[in-house]
Symmetry: C2
Subunit: 279 residues, 2 copies
């Protein structure tokens, strides 16, 4: 199996490391616009060679796109143009609707499997790539009926190698649930950072009063704007909906505190505690 | 040094474990209303004996209150009543203004040092107690001028044993900064949990779309309502202020998304990324 990975960042890099270490592929071709990232990826042994897009796709059996979602919608049609009849293509994007729309009528649509591994860290670039990033996390496959069964088998094999259980759903469902769970977490963390940075002019006060609780809640606010801005842009309606619910709940909490209704605040926390049973 | 710890939960229990293991005290007396918690604390070796409040305070050189802040305001005046002339008293509460007000005019005010270790986890009770919880975290001492120098020395020695650097500020400053950094983190996490639980009726969807990012952002929503409701109640004005800023930022973000202004969203994330330099 010859693997081409487009985008040698946290996700593409980590994927390449595990798939090679676990024998899924013997040869990894990287495609990377940033020459510094390409050089780090070669040095770190993430890829065996770095090639231009077309050459890489033509040489590969499996092509994985691991670039920001706005770049995926641009590159995916080209990748399918370059792909041979039996080349399988998948992507790691955090949205699925817009990406699938970009190749919906492509003659090689069935070569493509829309997928999303629910894994990552707040860091980016090939220096952030690490082994075992995906182990035990869930991967989602979307609109599987529009992919060729052989393509689904290969991609399922890739995720099995990454030790990721698979779940199947439509792209519409995926984007909605991703907004309701993952994307809103990022927004609430970014907004927390903005709030604390505005209220606290002194870095020392943030540092001294931080504790582990603040650090964990604000961790996602370190995430890459280049990656996340396009994700939000491709998932506006579901995000507006969940942000409205969030703002509404925060405003209710504020009103309860302002009116001294701490029974209601206590009750809200007890309700929120239900998350213990899930995570 | 005979130590009495009032409240054998996460904080009181962890404190007792380290202070004994590190030789700061040879004998730890526990005070605990919950008989099950008392029995676990004895079995785990967190305390050497469990005594009623008055007997414990009368026997101790140092008394540490580690109960919810609304119980601290009730117990602290009694503890100072029972205290001998040389008994030192401190507390672990996450608010300081209301606690200090409860003993502002007490004849033994100077025996008391108002403090707050910036450490914890989302778990509670003596089963959650663990060694090294405080190492390297910051502890705050408030209104130090109102405490006797000997009392400050003893409490500073305790925090040195816990390996916590000390910072000094007024109770007013403490409560404001705690609201702006720590307390708002908890509220944003609770609100995230409430939002996701409302939008996602299916536990499976939360679980599958969760990823590590959601888990870390929502972690604090597992925290104890009995502990946090009184903290919020004792810090209303600063919390309303920081919640207003938070809601405002979230609404700005929503407007930018609704109007397709992703340059502004990108810029907001870049600003939020400044938190990387602090944490």
């Amino acid at each position: 199996m010859k693997l081409a990975v487009i985008g040698l960042g946290l996700i593409g890099g980590s994927l390449a490391l595990d798939l090679k270490a676990r024998g899924f592929t013997r040869h990894v071709i990287g495609v990377e616009n940033n020459p510094q990232h390409a050089s780090i990826a070669l040095k770190k042994g993430i890829v065996d060679e770095v090639l231009p897009l077309q050459t890489a796709v033509e040489a590969a059996n499996l092509v994985v796109l691991a670039v920001p979602v706005n770049i995926i919608t641009t590159l995916l049609p080209q990748v399918l143009n370059y792909a041979n009849e039996n080349t399988i293509v998948t992507d790691m994007g955090s949205t699925k609707g817009a990406i699938i729309a970009s190749i919906a009528n492509h003659p090689k649509r069935a070569n493509y499997v829309a997928s999303h591994p629910m894994a990552g860290t707040e860091f980016s670039g090939p220096t952030a790539a690490l082994y075992n990033l995906f182990d035990g996390k869930v991967a989602i496959i979307c609109d599987a009926a529009n992919s060729h069964p052989d393509a689904l088998t290969i991609v399922a094999g890739m995720y099995k190698t990454l030790k990721m259980p698979l779940h199947y759903m439509s792209a519409t469902e995926h984007d909605m649930h991703a907004a309701y769970v993952s994307h809103i977490s990022h927004i609430s963390s970014f907004v927390l950072a903005l709030t604390v940075l505005e209220k606290e002019k002194s870095v020392a006060n943030i540092f001294n009063l931080a504790s582990g609780g603040f650090a964990s809640t604000v961790r996602l606010a370190k995430s890459s704007p280049n990656m996340w801005s396009p994700i939000f842009a491709q998932n506006v309606p579901s995000l507006l909906e969940v942000m409205d619910t969030y703002i509404d709940k925060m405003q209710q909490w504020r009103t309860q505190m302002a009116t001294g209704n701490f029974e209601a605040v206590h009750e809200a926390m007890k309700q929120a505690n239900a998350i213990r049973k899930i995570l």
